[in-house]
């Protein structure tokens, strides 16, 4: 592909189309529990790409057939709002691409969720893309992590995900949709604790020698994103714990003996 594509991916000053530097992430904003009656939900916005995820479960499986005897059964459904992609009316039901994204998210979270704690039950994850400006899969994975944490589902670590593009020899982080349609890119999701990669998908051609560097940059970016997400999670958890401490009711710490209870009941 001729490098001088109609839109300059990287100008001389080293800035990208939206003015970011190669390794600069788009601005991130997170909201917790936007859906009241879901067990846990979260909306993640990276740049203009917005994905909201609701988690129901672990709960009684809808049909006895898919109850697994020693662990929880993970169900992921992905829907795209009609207005998210300009000009493309979406019918979410049989769309193969969405089934594939759903399967990818399910496989990515299966090793991280401690499903053996919830045998014979089902955890349903509903992903809804509200705005899409590139990086739908990474944003969906980040939103799913937050929604699972909000639902109190036990997980061994966060999973954070980013897209990594390649312009000539310069890797670019967190691509927006004009960049995504012009340059080859890879989506990577990793466990920040160990820095190991749980997801890596690529659909456009990249030379093997460039691949390692992009992978390393992606994992590094995921760590930064995790720090962001963890800050928000802890801030919110802090306020909730503060509220929980209200009107002098002690926490039900595991070891509270029965005798304590009687004293309280004035």
């Amino acid at each position: 592909m001729a490098s001088s594509s109609r839109v300059e991916i990287l100008n001389e000053g080293g800035l990208r189309v939206d003015g970011r530097r190669p390794y600069e992430l788009r601005s991130v904003s997170m909201t917790f529990s936007p859906q009241a009656h879901a067990d846990g939900s979260a909306t993640m916005q990276q740049g203009l790409t917005t994905v909201t995820v609701s988690v129901f479960g672990p709960r009684e499986p809808r049909s006895r057939a898919n109850a697994i005897h020693d662990r929880a059964n993970l169900v992921v459904e992905v829907g795209v709002a009609g207005w998210s992609q300009p000009g493309v009316g979406q019918r979410n039901r049989g769309d193969k691409r969405l089934t594939e994204v759903g399967a990818t998210i399910r496989q990515t979270f299966e090793p991280v969720i401690m499903s053996h704690l919830y045998p014979r039950s089902e955890i349903s994850i509903y992903v809804q893309v509200l705005g899409s400006d590139g990086g739908i899969l990474p944003t969906a994975i980040n939103a799913t992590t937050l929604a699972l944490i909000d639902a109190g589902v036990a997980m061994t670590d966060y999973i954070t995900s980013l897209s990594v593009g390649l312009h000539l020899t310069q890797p670019l982080l967190d691509l927006s949709s004009p960049e995504e349609s012009d340059i080859p890119y890879l989506v990577v999701a990793s466990l920040p604790g160990t820095g190991k990669v749980t997801l890596a998908t690529l659909e456009t051609r990249i030379h093997v020698d460039r691949f390692e560097e992009m992978l390393a940059v992606g994992v590094e970016g995921c760590k930064i994103l995790k720090a962001e997400m963890e800050g928000e999670v802890k801030k919110r958890t802090g306020t909730m714990v503060e509220r929980m401490k209200l009107n002098a009711l002690p926490d039900r710490a595991g070891g509270m003996k029965d005798s304590d209870r009687d004293i309280l009941m004035t």
């Binding site: 992430l25 014979r120 909000d150 800050g231 802890k234 802090g238 714990v241 401490k245 009107n247 002098a248």
Partner: protein
């Protein structure tokens, strides 16, 4: 060196600004000493807790994948897992250390039934000799025909035909209050006490289970000025709350063992006066208000709140509280500078 910068988040979502840090809030007198007592308790054994990655906002708050402590001296409790010789947390919540046991209590979790819990449930299905009851938990609970009081007093012997007439006692969709008897593979319930059984004359609310504490009694009554007969509130540990017109003494009379045979499983609501309905819905709105702001529920909190509404003349007119009024009520009742719903 690889240098990745992240742009400070511009919250596109929040209407009002959120970023103001928690100012030093004025605490309700009796809350203050409790908080202080908590303070020094933590400082005293604030040792040994590995500060995983980023600094802790507020007291020992942790989130999944963070090292809580080393596994050598401590035993692992709920919400944690061990990897190598570290104990890591699996949920976002507060770290609790009780002598050698370290566990993480999550702020929001699905109800996990334990023996002896008082729960409210809805009958989902009638299977042979058993009812399947939804108790907002991981799995539907089982209420066996044998663990239910049948009409006509406690001593009545079980008869074969009972199994056929199960739907006369409890049918799909009925609400009941029961106690968790055991929790092997699926939670088992029982209603072998006169306080338990089918619910009527009221309204069901669902709140996050973590807002309800395990107390000695979960049956609370707001006396008459709150509605002509008073209002009963049953707070199920599983987050289901039943607000109904108070049955008053008639209920205690049942304790002596004589019970009107048909009454226990009747499906018919008594006729409830308009003022009673008003009182019930106001109590319900107060409960949901506290739930929206993640404030733990207790009977004292409810009676204070209702008293506050009465003082501000809200109870007579039955007019709803607007946002401002809600904030004022919360701040005065709880003494917390309550900023936004959670």
């Amino acid at each position: 060196m690889l240098q990745v910068i992240s742009v400070p988040p511009i919250p596109l979502f929040h209407a009002d600004d959120v970023t103001a840090e928690f100012s030093k809030t004025r605490h309700h007198p009796d809350v203050q000493d409790d908080l202080d007592s908590d303070m020094d308790v933590d400082d005293e054994y604030g040792t040994g807790l590995g500060v995983g990655s980023s600094s802790r906002a507020g007291k020992n708050i942790t989130s999944p994948g963070e090292v809580v402590t080393s596994a050598k001296e401590f035993m692992r409790g709920h919400g944690t897992y061990t990897e190598g010789d570290n104990v890591l947390s699996t949920v976002a919540g507060t770290i609790e250390r009780v002598n050698k046991l370290v566990s993480v209590r999550s702020v929001r979790q699905r109800y996990n039934p334990e023996k002896g819990d008082l729960v409210i449930g809805r009958v989902i299905e009638v299977v042979q000799q058993r009812w399947k009851v939804d108790t907002n938990a991981r799995q539907d609970a089982i209420l066996a025909l044998s663990s239910v009081n049948l009409p006509g007093g406690v001593q009545r012997r079980k008869v074969e035909t009972d199994a056929l007439k199960m739907r006369e006692f409890l049918a799909e969709g009925d609400l009941l209050v029961a106690e968790v008897q055991s929790v092997e593979n699926a939670p088992q319930l029982h209603t072998r006490s006169l306080r338990y059984g089918k619910l009527r004359n009221g309204l069901l609310l669902t709140v996050p289970p973590s807002l309800i504490r395990r107390l000695k009694s979960h049956f609370h009554t707001l006396p008459p000025p709150c509605g002509p007969l008073g209002v009963d509130v049953i707070m199920g540990v599983n987050g289901y709350i039943w607000v109904s017109v108070s049955v008053g003494e008639r209920n205690n009379a049942a304790v002596e063992g004589f019970v009107d045979a048909e009454g226990v499983y009747s499906d018919v609501n008594d006729d409830i006066s308009q003022s009673s309905r008003l009182a019930i819905s106001q109590v319900a709105n107060l409960i949901m208000l506290f739930a929206r702001y993640s404030i733990p529920l207790s009977d004292t909190l409810l009676s204070d709140a209702y008293a506050w509404c009465r003082d501000n003349g809200l109870t007579k007119s039955g007019q709803m509280m607007d946002k401002e009024m809600e904030k004022r009520c919360l701040t005065e009742i709880t003494g917390m500078d309550v900023r936004e719903e959670l």
